[in-house]
Symmetry: C2
Subunit: 540 residues, 2 copies
């Protein structure tokens, strides 16, 4: 379903309903560009740490516009043993609401625009009919301006702004409402005295009968059950994406709040479950039987043995996609086939159980190891960014950091290290690169022989990291206070009672979490997955 | 005529021809935004100097894309007493040529995009079919890369790059061509001995008979005449625009070279004649009879007495525009009606001659006072930026520069100066503004009374300017050398024999000139125009 400015309000309830009933959601975004740096390759070094990569994307990718947002909801029908799918393709454009609302400037990257143009992307639909949006802070500011104008119009001074939080303080009961409140208090006191576990429906405060308060008595067990239910609800649905790091970052940045500075250790309660199908496809048991993990190729591969094409049907009133006539790079379609890929791969895991299971649900423990680990493009030895624990930290004891004159080319580095056999060069910038040798033992030899060199400088990866940390420690001291201030503001804002309509349907992505920045040595992902997989095989 | 990527090459000769035969050209551009600053109003302060305004536009407007370029050529048919018009509407998009060519990032401003979307602007045509382009430096770099690749492919080392200029050095004549060259030399020597003023057609060097060298003898007078002709040709056509400063800056920046730093005094030979119809309409004798100088309103006004609608027809094979069904903000249409406005206003000047003239040509002395003066938006006392002489420098002895806490609002300034009667406030930024008083005598009183104020600070405009100059002098010292270096490079590039096709049709805007930055007191524009106008009235 195409959702644009003119039909957004009418279809919003359909979006809520689809999200509410879904077993899992798939998302995809189309952006106006990828990297505002000198080149896309400058954005990705093969030896980036997950934190460095996050920082690079935050710095060089967030000024682009997410102008098409695909959301595809999947609900399993146990009777019919198939998924019912609802697909939404949102066109997004920050049309200014009025003269005092934000006039967003966004960057376009010619190569990305050209790519989408060749795919038949409809830019006119984006710019003429895109749904406008505000992030939390912009909305707060706009409301503040309105309140200020209103209070000025009411004759109050310009400084009489009342914080929304102020309304949460105890208030004096107006004389004409005292009788009503007294009657309610009496009712509740009587209800508490009774032994029965009935519930009490209070009289509506306003004329409308649609909203009123119900008071129920629960025992300790019921209270716990309800709390768990609430927690489970808060933890959110499983949201899947293919190579989804940028999609997640853009969604949060554009519709919710500034991206957190990852290097600042915060512990925020995780309420989000993400799963990246590209990471899943690049991991055992899939890694060995899937050659190409690009979305289109993956979708094709997963229709063939040993996989089975999933049974998915469009819900009534929703248009269906045909995977035969590819509509790749329409966000709604990409979200759809991402969902198909996930279902096939999840079900494939079920085939290892004894007895084998044809259907593996989004809540199955089988897929938990993939939660909140987002695929990292072009990093040699770290497959993912971990959103809920420390990042992997491979040894890299065969890696050198080399500094040299800006005239040097890759061939100069090959020549310099010609004595060491095969090497791999990962450019950092004009005057530095990582060089990985085939043997860790060669590292010290290379460092020693370079000691008297004048034009270049070699250090071990460990030395390089240590120096960088020292610089960061000095810097962090300065910024820590300002971050604390920001977080304080953020929390304060969350308490505010205002929620914009345009933000509702993005609420499933509300919380993006601080990753721990502590550098700890952890067992590698592939090993842990392997163990998990063996266990899976043996125990079930 | 719509010119897009697919029909650009086929229509290029038509563009050349139209420009070549034209009496004057009108241009207009549509951009993806105006200001990347916090607000458009921050871009324009009522007391900007022309130089400051130029710097602001250079800093805050050049990252947007000129994505539609309108060119309308006007040729006067003396027999029919009407103009023949050819209109071109170019869609422009920096589609990357290949992976190593520049991947341009440009900014979009939501309000501008929304404005154009409401006018029915076709973004799909821009992004799918826009004509790609390179500026001079990008083209040079791309060619260099190609040459390097080619020479590497030929087995030469990576450092064997040969500068294009090197081909201009004397070359040894290959053995097999020596006879041919000798014969030519002989021919020329014989020709020079003869007394007749014939010309000598040399034998073509290549097989093709289409290009060969003709040698003619000319006397001193003829030589001078030809030189003047050449100079006149080089000086270029009259190019008109409506409120054209940004159009001119974008055109140069995007298609030719980085904009010059105006504060660096350079004297480049002026080869360009620009005329701004908005400035013309805001100046006597038009000022008093034209209320609204916006393009659409101006065009309507100039159809009525005392003006006469110009006689203009589309050339054969060119589509015509109908001013009754407005297509405003299509660049080609805007350029067209800018041309109409110019013709009406120029002819109106002719009505003051005795005997009156119905047709005033683009080469008439009557319009010369308007040359190379570009309208300045929202500057209180300086109507234009002067491209070929010192800028106007009004007295501003009634203006104060005030610094204050960032909480202050306009009302606080009104209160502070309440004793001085009417004031005008021009915000500079959050913590400073110009305040103009109604009487220059009040200035010193205001400065004196503020002497002991702690929260704010007042200085005269002259003091403010003096301090700014001191800062600039210190800064300029540092940048002067780098500018010299740049200019050196620019001149060197001009000598290179390569010219790109995509740049040809912009060559009429090749030179944008350094304005003098010396602050000299000159008679004001309005006064000088008045004198000119009186002279016009009396002498003809």
């Amino acid at each position: 379903m195409e959702v644009i400015r003119s039909n957004f309000k009418d279809n919003l309830s359909k979006v809520y309903e689809a999200v509410e009933e879904a077993d899992f959601l798939a998302i995809d975004g189309e952006f106006s560009g990828i990297s505002d740096g000198p080149s896309v390759s400058a954005l990705t070094n093969g030896f980036d740490t997950p934190e460095e990569r996050y920082q690079k994307l935050k710095k060089h990718s967030m000024d682009f516009l997410l102008f098409q947002f695909g959301l595809c909801t999947f609900k399993y029908d146990h009777t019919e043993e198939k998924y019912i799918m609802k697909s939404f393709n949102f066109y997004i454009f920050p049309k200014p609401f009025n003269r005092s609302s934000p006039d967003v400037k966004f960057v376009c990257q010619s190569s990305s625009i050209d790519f989408l143009a060749n795919q038949g992307f409809d830019f006119n639909k984006v710019f003429r009919n895109g749904i406008p949006y505000l992030n939390q802070e912009e909305e707060r500011q706009l409301r503040e301006q309105y309140d200020e104008k209103r209070s000025q119009a009411n004759g109050a001074g310009s400084l009489s702004y009342i914080s929304p939080n102020a309304t949460k303080c105890p208030v004096a009961i107006p004389e004409d409402q005292k009788k009503f409140i007294d009657r309610i208090v009496e009712q509740i006191e009587e209800f508490l005295k009774k032994e029965e576990n009935e519930s009490l429906e209070l009289e509506p405060c306003t004329g409308s009968k649609e909203r009123y308060i119900v008071i129920s008595k629960v025992d300790e067990e019921e209270r716990k059950r309800r709390e768990q239910q609430k927690q489970a609800k808060e933890q959110g649905k499983l949201v899947i994406g293919h190579n989804m790091l940028l999609d997640v970052m853009h969604t949060i940045h554009q519709f919710y709040c500034p991206l957190p500075d990852v290097s600042n250790p915060l512990s925020v309660q995780m309420r989000l479950k993400l799963l990246d199908t590209k990471l899943m496809a690049s991991t055992q048991p899939f890694k060995d039987i899937i050659n190409n993990t690009s979305l289109a190729e993956l979708e094709k591969r997963l229709k063939e043995v040993p996989f089975s094409p999933p049974k998915v049907e469009s819900a009534e009133g929703f248009p269906s996609y045909d995977t035969a006539s590819e509509q790749l790079h329409e966000a709604g379609y990409d979200a759809y086939i991402t969902g198909l890929c996930f279902i096939s791969m999840a079900n494939f895991l079920g085939s290892f159980l004894s007895p084998p299971k044809n259907h593996v649900s989004a809540r199955s423990k089988l897929i938990e190891p993939f939660f909140n680990k987002l695929f990292l493009m072009r990093v040699m030895d770290i497959p993912y960014l971990n959103l809920q624990g420390p990042d992997l930290q491979p040894k890299r004891d065969h890696v050198l950091h080399v500094t040299f004159p800006k005239e040097w080319k890759t061939s100069d580095l090959y020549q310099l290290f010609s004595a060491f056999g095969n090497i791999q060069v990962s450019w950092i910038d004009d005057t530095s690169a990582f060089v990985s040798l085939s043997q860790p033992e060669q590292v010290q030899i290379a460092v020693n022989t370079s000691r008297y060199a004048e034009s270049y400088r070699i250090q071990t990866y460990a030395e390089y990291v240590e120096k960088k940390h020292e610089e960061k420690r000095a810097k962090r001291k300065c910024t820590e206070d300002s971050w604390k201030e920001m977080e304080r503001k953020r929390l304060k804002t969350q308490g505010a009672p205002y929620i914009s309509q345009s933000r509702y349907y993005y609420s499933f992505l509300l919380y993006f979490h601080q990753r721990h920045s502590a550098f700890e040595i952890v067992h590698t992902w592939h090993f842990s997955l392997y163990v998990y997989f063996i266990n899976l095989h043996v125990n079930h």
